[in-house]
């Protein structure tokens, strides 16, 4: 392990998140088993009080989780100088087999935790805790995900070893590491360009349909996830080439650097936020029949769908402007 302050911060953060969610999960389990809204017993009152604890714990854990996603990428970026052949975060993450799985696990936990918060928000709109069961079942899914992510990240960080000078012919040990230099290539723009615009079109169409007819929330959700995946693939495949103004540089992480005006933050922020909101629309869909939510839920879904569409359009606008204004023409 490299004893970098950033590494220690990451370990601390993931330990805290695990601890918070374990506590929340334990409370959630108690609530799931003992919940009976009809009863006015002391146990029930105590459980109702505990719902506040759970939501406070999860909300804090989610904020830490999202921040630590960016801290993770930045730490990987900062450590790249210590590995022969690594040019940026892409190289550091490839140093051992746990780097990329950790990143994916972090993104997945962010998405699920975001959806949980949307469910929670909807739950507070009804007077009779209408979503208490689905909410705590989802929480029990989230807990093992976060634990797995913590384990993956710890394995990744523990496996890092700086290529420092040795007392004999130092410069030669890096020669077998050619693999790290290999750039992420991505799919050819020929395929990805139409794929991106088609997905965007379908996503917007589903959104308009949803806002007009209040139907198709499931399709909208699936499309929002598809939009995230296709956008990231397109970003690696061709959008970033325009931003870097280099036909061979496919790195998705350098976008977060100062050299490119930190454009990666709005890009990934809109993508991740849009996907969470879009998934939330679908997650709420099965509960529209609940009596106490029959008014609030469609309104909330419409707001979420609106925001998801706006975020998708902001993303498209950002990368589109770069595509048009970039001196690079593919």
């Amino acid at each position: 392990m490299i004893q970098h302050p950033g590494v220690l911060a990451l370990l601390l953060a993931s330990g805290l998140v695990s601890l918070l969610l374990l506590a929340a999960g334990w409370q959630g389990l108690r609530i799931l088993r003992g919940w009976n809204l009809q009863s006015g017993s002391e146990v029930q009152l105590d459980l109702e009080r505990r719902t506040y604890l759970v939501s406070t714990l999860v909300a804090n854990a989610l904020v830490i989780q999202i921040l630590s996603l960016f801290l993770f990428i930045f730490t990987a970026e900062g450590l790249h100088t210590q590995f022969v052949g690594a040019m940026c975060a892409a190289g550091s993450l490839a140093v051992n087999a746990f780097g990329y799985p950790t990143l994916l696990a972090k993104i997945a936990t962010c998405l699920v935790a975001g959806v949980w918060l949307i469910l929670h928000r909807a739950d507070t709109q009804g007077h009779d805790y209408p979503l208490i069961r689905p909410k705590y079942v989802l929480l029990l899914i989230l807990v093992p995900m976060v634990l797995a992510e913590t384990w993956l990240q710890a394995s990744y960080l523990a496996g890092l070893k700086a290529d420092v000078m040795t007392s004999c012919c130092g410069s030669l040990f890096g020669q077998g590491r050619e693999g790290l230099v290999a750039e992420l290539a991505g799919l050819p723009p020929r395929i990805m360009q139409p794929a991106f615009w088609i997905t965007l079109g379908a996503f917007v169409a589903a959104g308009v349909l949803l806002l007009r007819t209040r139907r198709g929330a499931g399709v909208f959700s699936v499309l929002s996830l598809a939009f995230l995946l296709v956008s990231v693939t397109s970003l690696v495949s061709f959008f970033c080439l325009y931003i870097y103004e280099l036909p061979t540089h496919h790195c998705p992480f350098c976008l977060l650097q100062r050299e490119y005006g930190f454009v990666g933050y709005p890009i990934y922020g809109t993508l991740l936020g849009g996907a969470i909101l879009g998934l939330g629309v679908g997650a709420l869909a099965p509960f529209r029949a609940r009596k106490s939510l029959s008014e609030a839920l469609p309104r909330m879904q419409a707001r979420l769908a609106w925001s998801a569409l706006v975020l998708a359009l902001i993303f498209t606008l950002i990368v589109g402007i770069w595509m048009v204004l970039s001196p690079l023409k593919l």
Partner: protein, 377 residues
């Protein structure tokens, strides 16, 4: 203003006034919190500034240095090998270097003696760094005496090197090649090491491999390796200090937990009254959240500011010796202010997150207290 925004503002107002009402207690918390942030921030800023200095210094360094190893120890290098290395494809220039360390028994420090080809430097005269001039109390035109192999040698000081280069030149004495040879009794045809420049830095590993193939006793060291090693050392030192300081963080967390748990009777009453006049548990949670944020942000900003002053105006006088390494002739220098979002984020993670996590459960306990029980107690 929208009612939801107005609600947040009102609760924030209330949080501020309730913090002010318990001035003494909160001040103590903020002081300890600021101190913890200050210590860790100083450390992170200092390590970062040192790493930056090292990186900027090494920009001037040769791409590769080739040393000769005999039985695992560094040995003078035959200058003739420079020709063979120069013939390797991709090598742009090879420069034999002549340097060594001179222990000065009077001042108890090691000086770096180096030969320069600069023709402005006359034989039997030297250029010395600021640190040397300071500790020997000499100035331009003075004479210094060094113990050579064949007896004491006198040199006149032709120039004291400018202050801007002090970080690299503090302990440096520059003299002509023949003076270095007679001082250390080095025979002609031997150099300390060879500095190699390559046209394309990506060819360096291949060049290094070829050098080792031709001279099995050679040890090529790349600039990138030196840089990597420096970064690793500074990171390691910084990380080590953070681990040591984790006990401080831990005790601070216990302190914060204790403060947050031990609600005074008055506070319990306050929450009880708030709830009985219509505040919900969520509102009280928000109130406590605002209180915590105000404390955290104040302490964080205060700690960062203090650390900035400490590191960049006073050269981190509290940590200097633990982090800079051990030497007698320390260069005097002021670090260039270097701050970026990443370090602040790391600092935030190391200090604010544990505090927040530690106060969550006590906050919830305070917020969900029964109004009648609270007011009756």
């Amino acid at each position: 203003m929208r009612p939801s925004v107005q609600r947040y503002r009102n609760i924030l107002d209330f949080a501020l006034s309730s913090l002010l009402r318990r001035k003494g207690r909160n001040l103590a918390l903020i002081c300890v919190y600021t101190l913890v942030v200050f210590v860790i921030a100083s450390l992170i800023f200092f390590v970062q500034a040192l790493k930056r200095e090292a990186r900027e210094l090494l920009v001037q360094a040769p791409d590769m240095v080739v040393q000769r190893m005999v039985a695992g120890r560094h040995d003078p290098m035959p200058v003739a090998q420079a020709e063979t290395i120069r013939a390797i494809r991709g090598v742009e220039a090879v420069q034999p270097r002549l340097w060594g360390y001179y222990y000065d028994p009077v001042y108890g420090g090691n000086l770096t003696v180096m030969a320069t080809d600069d023709t402005a430097l006359a034989v039997e005269s030297v250029w010395v760094g600021q640190g040397v001039a300071r500790s020997m109390r000499v100035k331009e035109g003075d004479m210094i005496s060094l113990r050579g192999y064949a007896g004491p040698m006198l040199f006149s000081i032709q120039k004291v090197l400018p202050e801007e280069s002090e970080l690299v030149s503090s302990d440096l004495i520059l003299m002509s090649p023949q003076d270095v040879r007679s001082l250390f009794n080095l025979s002609e045809g031997l150099a300390t090491d060879l500095a190699v420049q390559a046209g394309n830095p990506r060819e360096l590993p291949t060049i290094a491999a070829k050098i080792v193939e031709q001279f099995p006793d050679a040890r090529p060291i790349l600039k990138s390796e030196i840089l990597r090693t420096y970064e690793a050392i500074f990171d390691w030192r910084g990380g080590l200090m953070v681990v040591v300081l984790s006990s401080a963080i831990l005790s601070f967390i216990i302190f914060a937990w204790d403060k947050a748990t031990g609600l005074s009777a008055e506070e319990r009453k306050e929450v009880g009254i708030l709830k009985s006049i219509g505040w919900e548990s969520a509102d009280v949670l928000l109130l406590k959240f605002w209180e915590g944020s105000v404390v955290s942000l104040t302490a964080f900003l205060g700690g960062v500011l203090l650390a900035y002053v400490h590191v960049f105006f006073f050269s981190a006088s509290l940590f200097e010796h633990a982090l800079k390494g051990w030497s007698v002739l320390f260069p005097r220098y002021r670090l260039l202010p270097a701050l970026d979002g990443y370090q602040l984020a790391v600092l935030f993670f190391l200090t604010v997150l544990p505090y927040t996590a530690a106060t969550l459960v006590p906050i919830w306990r305070a917020a969900t207290v029964d109004p009648d029980a609270a007011m009756r107690s």
